[in-house]
Structure formats: C-alpha cells, structure tokens
C-alpha cells in the first residue's frame, strides 16, 4: 500500500506541475486575477453559502417531519424532489438569463427554457405527490398487516 501511495503522490505532483506550466505558458498573466477570483468565488459559494443552505433545509425538513410525525421515507422523497429541482435550476437558469441578454445566433439556446423548466417543475410536483401517495399506501398496508412483512 505504501508503494502505491508514493506512486500516486509522485504522479499527482507531476500532473499538478504540468497544469501549472500549461497555465503559466498558455495563459497571459493579466488573466490570473480573474482565474483567482473564480477560485475564491467557488470556495465562498460552496463552503460559505451552498453548504449552509443545505444544512438549513435539512434541519427544517427534520423539524417539520418531527412536528407533523412525517415518516423518514416521505421526508426523503420530498428532499429528493427539492434536490432535483435545485440542480435543474442551476443548469437551466443560466440558459434563461444568457438567452435574454443575447446570443451569437438563433441556433444557440433555441428552446423556451423558462417554459420547459415550468413544465418540468409541474411534472416534478405531480411525480412527488404520486410517490408520496404510493409510499403512504404501502406504509398503511404494512401497518394494518404487520405480520405480512415477516412472511
């Protein structure tokens, strides 16, 4: 294991060096500030904003769940829907904004992304509702006939 670790670290450092050389060689120094800004932005947005938002949502969901005695499975279904909706927004919102600012030609960003996202969210709400209905129906049946689960 030690040999593999040393090999990987040597490889890693070598690749980092290649990355550094390529950056110094191919990218003019006047651009470094903007790249650093992007790195700082990524750290701040992730460590400082997104992470805490995720924790806050997690706590809120748990507290709501406990107050209304919502079972864990139902919480996971709702959390899943929120995560899916959020990541889709992350991918699609920039398209909506960029398209409204202007694009190089009409074949770039040709779709009505706002409308498509709205339809997606409508489908997501319906699908989440259906999944919850199925979940509660199954849970109720298991509660009525608890012995079945041991059969």
């Amino acid at each position: 294991m030690r040999k593999v670790q040393i090999g990987l670290i040597v490889l890693g450092v070598a690749l980092l060096a290649v990355g550094g050389v390529v950056l110094l060689d191919d990218v003019a120094p006047k651009n470094y500030a903007a790249i650093l800004l992007w790195f700082a932005g990524a750290i701040i947005l992730h460590d400082g904003v997104a992470s805490f938002a995720v924790v806050a949502v997690g706590i809120a969901m748990r507290r709501l769940g406990r107050s209304f005695r919502v079972p864990l499975g139902a919480i996971i279904i709702v959390q899943g829907a929120i995560v899916l909706g959020a990541i889709m927004a992350l991918i699609v919102f920039p398209e909506i904004i960029k398209k409204s600012i202007g694009r190089a030609n009409p074949t770039l960003l040709p779709l009505d992304y706002g409308l498509n996202l709205a339809v997606f969210y409508a489908v997501l709400v319906v699908a989440t509702g259906a999944a919850l209905a199925v979940y509660f129906a199954v849970a109720r049946r298991q509660k009525v006939r608890p012995l079945d689960s041991h059969a």
Binding site: G12, L15, S51, L72, I76, I87, L108, L111, N116, F120
Partner: protein
C-alpha cells in the same frame, strides 16, 4: 432547555446524516473519479486533435469517433454536477473539523483538498457556461485554462486517492462497511486522526468530559434509520443524474433528441436543418463568400489551379453521411455532397503522404487556417462539400464550399474555403 436540546440535535444530525459516512464517500467518490477520468481522456483527445504533436496520427474510423468522444465529454461533465455535490455532501463535516489545522501534514492535506474542490467546481462551471457561449462570465482564455485545470484536477485526484487509500480499501466493498443493523463499521485499522470523514459515527463512541456529556445529551434523541436514509441518498443521486442525461444529452446523442428540453443546442434547428456555431456575419465573410468572382485556389508549389463553384460541381460528386460535431458537445448527422478532397489534391499533383492547408475567407480567427493531415486528405469520405441535406450549403454553413472529414471536430471542418495548399 428541551428546545435547545432539540435544536442542537437537529444541527448535529443534519451534519452527521446517515449518508455521511466513509462508505458513501467511497461509493460516490468512485463514480465521480470515473467521470473525471472520462472527461480528462476525452478532453485530452479533443485537445490533441486540434493541436497535434508532429508524430500524431488520428483514426478516421469510426466516423462518429469525435462525435461520441466529445458528446461523452460534455455529458459526463454535466453529470459531475450532481456527483460532485453528492461527494461534498458526504464529507461535509470535514469543513468544521477542529482544530482547523492540526499539523503541517494536516495543513497540506486540507490545502490540497481546497485546491481540488475549487478547481473541480470552477472546471465544471466554466465548461457549462462555455457551451452556453456566455463568454462575458469567463474573462480569461477558456480553452487554455480548462486544459491546464484538467491536469490540476487529475493530479489532485491522484494525491487524494493516495492520502485516503486506507479508507478507500476498507470501505470498497459493502460487507466490510456496515454492521448487520446498518451502522457504519468503525475503521479497523488505525486511521490517521486527521482524516475525520473516517471518524467513527458518533452513535458508536460516547464522548468523555463535560463537553462530551453535553454532546451525549444532544444525541440522546434517536438517530434517523441509517439504511433507508443511505438508500434514499443513492436513489436521489441516481434520479438527478438520470434526469440530467435524459433532458440534455439529446444535443449529442440522437436517441435522446425527443427528451432534449434543456440542452443549449437542438438537432435540426438551424439553416439546412443544422445548428450553427459561427455565422457568416460573425466571421465577416458576408461579402467575400457571396462574391460572384469567388474561386477555390488549389496550389502545389508553383502549380496552381482555380475552380469556380460551377467547375467544382462539374467534378465527380460524392454523397457521404458524416456528423458535424462541435467541441461544445452538440453534434448531428448530415448528408454532404461535393467533390473529394483527394481529387482536388491530385489535380495539382499532390503525393499520397502530403498534408494540406485549408484556408478560409474568414479573417481574424485562429481556425481560419487549418492543417489537414494525410489520413484525412486520402480518406474517400473527405469532401469539399457544396451541398448539405439536399440543399445548397447555407451561407452560415460555409457557402460556397467547406471541408467535411470523418472524425474531426467542427472547428477544423473549415467553412468558406478560399484556398487549399499542398504542404
């Protein structure tokens, strides 16, 4: 007091959710690592096909090679969003490890992770924005930076795997990871204390001292059931990934065109039923490309021949099915028609091993001049296309004549040809 206990417990269990354990970090890490390697390999291929080293020869078959490799590059890149977020989620408590820095080794480890995470986030974000051509948000040369960062990321990945190798080995298989009741197994080997995603889950280790008693009091409320939470986490990651592929990959893979509602490109949208990257207007060729006096000059040293469009049309015409595949990941199959490039090269006595230079009417672009290597020149599918999809080539697709060759990225399929020189 009771409320405080509840709130603290919420905070604690939100941070130490069942999905946050070393086994899950390994499961997601494997997928993310694979996605990174796929992006790296396809990215390197795309880089060197555009900037080949002198000894490099590229295959011209299968004709969809570049189409698929670049489609996979972009699709895997989009998949990195949910996978990277999931990975960061599984190791989230690491952010708050106390004390923040324990030793020089620990400092190096945290610094390398910070670099790894930041580079990965920047890489996928600028990659996505580049496919939207939102260049104003990328105030540095995209291609060079994306290329340099790819080495930083894969290098960091190798170091990360080396540092975590013990953990990865232990939690690689499921049976070594969980007890029968679903609780995560404590690391068997003495893990370096600094690697706290490997920290045994709190419910297996009572804390000592006054702080410990407070912590134990906070944890007195029951933990969520581990196994269903973990399964739920994986189902969520899988569902998000499947949704992203289904709703965006249609720009690269025709099979998914019907469900392509979120990709920046859509098959069949554009002149000649094909998307356009650079328009004739953007390339400033509106005048020169429509000039009635346009001829294609083919030169081999002192030998020089000029072909009007009518003369090109009078040559033996060939019809080929080839994809146009952009570095931005979108691609589409099309039917091209025109004389073979090798027939034009032979008309000025080019030898089989000769490379050609294709020159565009386009003025200020790094792709206005491209080198066509012998494997493409001699290929029977390589055409100087005059028509596409049964129509005259649209001005935005390179009228009066453009290059089309198998397995080359779109930027090298020179549009608005003005001359071809034997090198």
């Amino acid at each position: 007091m009771w409320h405080l206990q509840r709130l603290l417990h919420s905070l604690n269990s939100a941070v130490s959710a069942p999905a946050r354990n070393p086994r899950m970090a390994v499961v997601i890490g494997r997928l993310l690592g694979a996605a990174f390697l796929v992006c790296f390999a396809t990215g390197i291929y795309s880089h060197f096909i555009q900037e080949p080293l002198p000894w490099m020869v590229f295959p011209t078959r299968p004709i969809w090679l570049y189409q698929v490799s670049q489609g996979v590059h972009i699709t895997a890149g989009i998949l990195c969003f949910p996978l990277l977020f999931a990975k960061l989620y599984t190791v989230f408590p690491e952010l708050f490890s106390t004390p923040p820095v324990r030793s020089f080794r620990h400092f190096l480890e945290r610094a390398s992770i910070a670099l790894f995470v930041a580079a990965s986030l920047v890489q996928i974000a600028i990659g996505l924005l580049n496919t939207y051509q939102w260049y104003a948000l990328i105030p540095f040369p995209f291609r060079q930076t994306h290329y340099a960062l790819s080495f930083v990321i894969i290098g960091s990945l190798a170091i990360h795997i080396a540092v975590k190798l013990q953990t990865i080995a232990q939690y690689w298989s499921k049976k070594n990871s969980y007890e029968a009741d679903g609780v995560t197994l404590v690391p068997a080997v003495n893990p370096h204390v600094s690697t706290s995603p490997d920290k045994p889950p709190i419910d297996t280790q009572p804390y000592a001292g006054i702080t410990g008693r407070v912590v134990n009091w906070i944890e007195a409320t029951p933990q969520p059931a581990p196994a269903p939470s973990r399964r739920g986490f994986l189902v969520i990651v899988g569902t998000v990934s499947a949704a992203l592929v289904t709703l965006t990959a249609g720009q690269s893979f025709r099979l998914l065109d019907g469900t392509n509602v979120f990709a920046p490109r859509k098959n069949d949208v554009g002149p000649n039923s094909l998307p356009v990257n650079r328009t004739a207007k953007a390339a400033k060729v509106l005048q020169t490309a429509t000039d009635a006096g346009w001829v294609l000059t083919v030169a081999n040293g002192a030998t020089e021949k000029s072909f009007t469009r009518a003369q090109l049309l009078a040559m033996p015409q060939h019809t080929v099915e080839l994809p146009i595949a952009c570095v931005e990941g979108w691609s589409q199959m099309a039917t091209w028609r025109g004389p073979r490039l090798r027939d034009l090269a032979d008309a000025v006595g080019a030898k089989p091993g000769d490379s050609l230079r294709a020159v565009s009417l386009e003025q200020d672009s790094s792709y206005a001049r491209t080198t066509v290597f012998p494997e493409y020149v001699r290929d029977e599918l390589t055409l100087v296309a005059l028509e596409v999809n049964g129509e005259t080539l649209d001005l935005d697709h390179g009228y009066p004549a453009r290059l089309i060759a198998p397995g080359r990225p779109g930027v090298l399929q020179t549009k608005w040809l003005s001359s071809i020189e034997v090198l």
